[in-house]
Subunit: 130 residues, 2 copies
């Protein structure tokens, strides 16, 4: 999803496409899974409060996902369904799209639970840290 269509979508819903919001979007595009500190470093001209408010807005628009992986929130553009490999040694986070969930084995038949989404994180050691 390119920046132009995001701007269009915002205006369509009555939100303004301000320079600050565009700056936050560009910061988000620079890398996945960034902490607030990293995002701030990528758009230092934007006030902290505005970054929080923009992340909240983009979250409500379904464009940004907030991750709670254990040491503080991280944010990523919600492009496509994927999961994470997290290195417990260096903290590196990588992604994979192939979903290893065996839906047959989800215990939903009898429970009456209707699943709509899921999150999966695999922890271990990355190639570098072996």
């Amino acid at each position: 999803m390119d920046l132009g269509s995001v701007v269009g979508r915002m205006r369509g819903r009555g939100y303004k496409a301000t320079p600050q919001r565009v700056a936050v979007l560009e910061a988000l595009g620079a890398d996945q899974h960034q902490s607030m500190e990293e995002l701030r470093g990528r758009c230092p001209e934007v006030g902290l409060v505005t970054i929080y408010r923009t992340l909240d807005l983009l979250g409500r628009l379904g464009l940004v996902r907030r991750l709670d992986l254990g040491d503080g929130p991280r944010y990523e553009l919600a492009e496509s369904h994927h999961h994470h490999l997290i290195c417990e040694s260096c903290g590196d986070i990588s992604e994979f799209e192939e979903c290893p969930l065996d839906v047959e084995r989800l215990p939903l038949q009898n429970s009456g639970f209707e699943a709509s989404s899921h999150s999966l994180e695999v922890y271990g050691r990355c190639a570098v840290c072996q």
Copy 2:
């Protein structure tokens, strides 16, 4: 794992089995996935700082797991490997032990990543909330 063996394990490692720690353990035993607020309510005679310190200690001993499911940390006794069904309507959290992960489909062969654990949460609507 019963309370007596936990006390024994603590003493074996040089930790004291204080009334406060026992109270926190009993609070944890009353229900899974409790918030700090719920835990406090279950052992109001224990100071807040001591609850935090006890949860930290039990975590290091591998007896307690901290969950980050989206609205504040929750704590549970780490009895056995299991996953969670989370109702996005009423917030109810239920557990299942049957692991629906198809290990064959984990993209680890070529990546050099060595997996040691994983967490999986399924979101949706529980039977009551349909």
